[in-house]
């Protein structure tokens, strides 16, 4: 998936949230959890919010294309299926783009951000098991010539439970 293209597009449009319809806001507010597990889930959502199946599908498609949602799907609890870690690198600024591209090129990397710190590149690596994840970190170290800090989850106090949105 191209990932960055729709995000850039949304930024250019600066559509923000002002252009959202009431239907779209309700989809964003009310369906971060409890998406119906039924044969026609979009029809069932439509019934709950006084719409119709085609409109609901079209709205979700638009929200996805605009980059406001990443997907309709499952958020998996860390370490219940496979293994993941948070990794950090201190990359010399002039090499940041190059090293970030190297990191992003791995399908095992799902999030990759520049952050304001001496450790300036932070990314999440997810794989089938701990050895798989460590092999990706080792490969990134070898190819970049830079150390990678491996900071796996020790205990979760709060997992991704969705995000309460506040409309202006």
């Amino acid at each position: 998936m191209a990932g960055l293209a729709p995000i850039a597009e949304a930024d250019r449009n600066a559509a923000g949230t002002a252009a959202l319809s009431e239907l779209e806001k309700r989809l964003l507010d009310e369906y971060q959890h409890g998406f119906p597990l039924s044969p026609r889930p979009y029809r069932d959502i439509a019934r709950q919010i006084d719409s119709d199946e085609t409109t609901v599908i079209a709205a979700l498609d638009r929200l996805t294309r605009a980059g406001l949602i990443s997907r309709v799907g499952a958020v998996v609890t860390p370490h219940k299926a496979g293994w993941s870690t948070l990794a950090a690198m201190a990359v010399p600024p002039r090499r940041l783009e190059q090293v970030a591209d190297l990191v992003s090129s791995y399908p095992e990397v799902n999030h990759n951000y520049e952050r304001e710190h001496r450790l300036n590149l932070w990314f999440v690596v997810t794989g089938t098991d701990v050895l798989h994840v460590r092999s990706v970190l080792k490969a990134i170290e070898a190819r970049s010539g830079l150390a990678v800090l491996d900071l796996p989850l020790v205990e979760a106090y709060r997992l991704d439970l969705g995000f309460p949105l506040q409309w202006d």
Partner: protein, 168 residues
């Protein structure tokens, strides 16, 4: 927790999102060789046992107007971290809260959370509020604002996912 190869295949099949098709689970069934009914019942079971943390719309905070986000980290004595983590986790604006290992001398912090806000000032104010609420006001702390997003998408639990037909 009884996670088997079929469950992993199913999770892999939906990692880029559920198809925006009137019968999304039937499309997933075609891609995985299961029946529609089995896809639905397995996803329900994975949610019930906690492998799937939530099932629904996954939003992009930045595009929804939450332009600033910081990874906030503290160095907390090991004996106090559980209490501090649970207090942070109870705050509505803390979206994730984890304990991770320190990595001395590069990285002295062991408590991590994510805070999103409309702008930098809003995030900074929330961090002060969080520190006070969790009894962390005097503790060493750092805020790592995100600067550039290189990659953001759902985690991938298998090397390659079967391609799903999109509604079109």
């Amino acid at each position: 927790m009884g996670l088997n190869a079929t469950d992993l295949r199913l999770i892999a099949a939906i990692q880029d999102g559920l198809p925006l098709d009137p019968r999304p689970y039937a499309r997933v069934a075609e891609a995985t060789g299961l029946s529609e009914r089995e896809v639905i019942s397995r996803l329900g079971r994975l949610a019930e046992v906690g492998v799937i943390r939530r099932f629904g719309v996954v939003v992009h905070h930045h595009e929804l107007g939450y332009r600033a986000n910081a990874m906030v980290v503290w160095d907390v004595p090991d004996a106090e971290i559980g209490e501090a983590g649970r207090r942070l986790a109870g705050l509505p604006f803390v979206s994730l809260c984890y304990r991770r290992p320190r990595h001395l001398p590069d990285w002295p912090y062991n408590l991590f959370c994510m805070i999103h806000g409309r702008d930098r000032g809003a995030v900074e104010a929330l961090v002060e509020e969080a520190s006070a609420a969790a009894g962390l006001s005097g503790r060493p702390r750092d805020l790592l604002f995100s600067r550039k997003r290189f990659k953001q998408r759902g985690a991938r639990y298998a090397p390659s996912a079967p391609k799903l037909r999109k509604a079109g």
